[in-house]
């Protein structure tokens, strides 16, 4: 198990038998659908799987939503709040599961958080340092979908745009459509900048669900197969 930075120094060296696989991508990229499909397939193949995501820690997850609705939060406050939620899940769920030999499927990971912060003007190096306690995943995929296509998907699904996901808090444009597109373009750009450094594999998410799934599944199976042969 490798960390991005200083790691969690008070934990004894944990031996991990499991794998950490991350799926990244904006709302409407089909991320959650793919996570479900991959889970089903991996379980059918006999792997123990757990999923994790952002804003899901018992302790803090609900608090983030509440706080967002009560008062506008500063950008560093929000970044740290998400990091706390992430840390809680990492230590209580992800690390124990990896230790026990699970395949951990993460529906988003630190990269989304770093991209969001960066678009809001927080320095990339501070974000990187902040997540020095995060584990380096075995595989990271980014579902890339053009912003305009995303807009239609999100609108069809929810009938409305999420305030933060459309970057409304940073005042990119008075027009919500334009704001959404500009914001998502910014996020996509951050992912491109992170690709090499963090080993993120870009997957064309604009294709039909089944096609994307075959692509992802092939890569995952090949990775898990290589572990078995080792």
């Amino acid at each position: 198990m490798n960390y991005y930075g200083e790691g969690i120094t008070y934990l004894k060296k944990v031996e991990t038998k499991g794998s950490l696989i991350v799926l990244e991508g904006p709302d409407g990229s089909g991320r959650s659908t793919q996570v479900d499909m991959i889970t089903t397939k991996l379980e059918a193949d006999g792997h123990a799987v757990i999923t994790t995501g952002l804003k899901r820690s018992e302790l803090i997850g609900a608090g983030i939503l509440e706080a967002k609705h009560k008062l506008p939060l500063g950008k560093k406050t929000l970044a740290l709040f998400y990091a706390a939620d992430f840390a809680d899940q990492l230590e209580h769920k992800v690390i124990p599961a990896l230790h026990a030999g699970y395949v951990v499927l993460a529906d988003r990971y630190i990269y989304t958080l770093m991209a969001r912060s960066s678009v809001r003007g927080i320095s990339r190096s501070w974000s990187h340092d902040l997540f020095g306690f995060a584990i380096q995943p075995d595989l990271v995929f980014y579902l890339d979908v053009p912003p305009v296509e995303l807009f239609h998907r999100v609108f069809q699904k929810y009938g409305t745009l999420d305030y933060y996901e459309s970057g409304a808090d940073i005042g990119l444009s008075d027009d919500l459509f334009e704001s959404f597109v500009l914001y998502q373009r910014g996020i996509a750009k951050e992912f491109r900048l992170m690709e090499e450094k963090y080993g993120i594999v870009r997957i064309d998410g604009g294709r039909p669900v089944a096609e994307v799934n075959v692509d992802l599944q092939k890569r995952i199976d090949s990775y898990l197969g290589s572990l078995r042969r080792r």
């Binding site: 200083e6 008070y10 803090i60 608090g63 500063g74 230590e91 020095g132």
Partner: protein, 232 residues
């Protein structure tokens, strides 16, 4: 740590529980206001947004050192972005009862990586004066226990498994915090005040240091307290 071209001044007090730092800051606050300086007071772990969630987690005793650190950093960032930073820009004297040094001491004692903790807080500016009230752990402990026989779980450092006895745990925890503060005195330029001296004497020393930070012409801005500012 960044130094902005701010007009205000940041004065912080640090020390273990029972070191007398809050009393001293209170007296400094009264004095500054009495001479017409615009003052804003803020204390550790007091942001409304974060408080509720932290207390829930603290009750369940579920916080790992990393989560503990990040939640306090969130609290700090909220106060920093909402009050401390803008008010310093506006020329206020910001008085902080505990600042990043508290986080450094506590998080490092809890086992977080020191370099990481400092990176997390790297956005915070260096105070114009950081007073450290030095008292032996036993003195602080005696003062705290005087009026309040029951210790809280995290306050006593029970999460560190130092001892099953919460008083013994508290004693060990506080002395480790003191070690951390002592190591920061030189590194971070903390101004040491002997917290066992008379209250008046300590206050005199503090005012002497702060007096030279007061600009000749006082900024003409209204005096607000934390509650009023929260309305903006």
């Amino acid at each position: 740590m960044p130094r902005t071209g701010r007009k205000g001044r940041l004065i912080v007090v640090e020390g273990i529980d029972g070191s007398g730092k809050s009393t001293q800051l209170h007296l400094l606050d009264k004095w500054l206001r009495s001479i017409g300086v615009s003052v804003f007071f803020t204390e550790w772990n007091s942001s409304d947004v974060v408080k509720e969630i932290t207390s829930k987690g603290k009750k369940k005793a579920l916080l790992t050192p990393t989560t503990f650190c990040l939640l306090h950093a969130t609290d700090f960032a909220d106060r920093y972005e909402r009050n401390i930073s803008p008010l310093l820009e506006a020329g206020y004297f910001v008085l902080a009862d505990r600042y990043i040094y508290t986080a450094f001491a506590r998080d490092i004692v809890r086992g977080c990586n020191p370099t990481w903790v400092r990176k997390v807080y790297s956005f915070a500016i260096v105070p114009d004066a950081a007073f450290y009230f030095r008292v032996p752990p036993d003195v602080g402990m005696a003062r705290i226990l005087e009026g309040r026989p029951k210790l809280k779980y995290y306050e006593a450092g029970m999460d560190l498994n130092l001892s099953n006895d919460e008083y013994e745990s508290y004693r060990i925890f506080q002395s480790r915090i003191v070690d951390q503060y002592e190591s920061m005195v030189k590194k971070d330029g903390l101004i040491v005040i002997d917290g066992t001296l008379d209250i008046e004497k300590q206050q005199e020393m503090m005012r002497q240091r702060v007096r030279r930070l007061i600009p000749a012409a006082k900024p003409r801005v209204p005096i607000l307290d934390q509650k009023e500012v929260a309305l903006y």
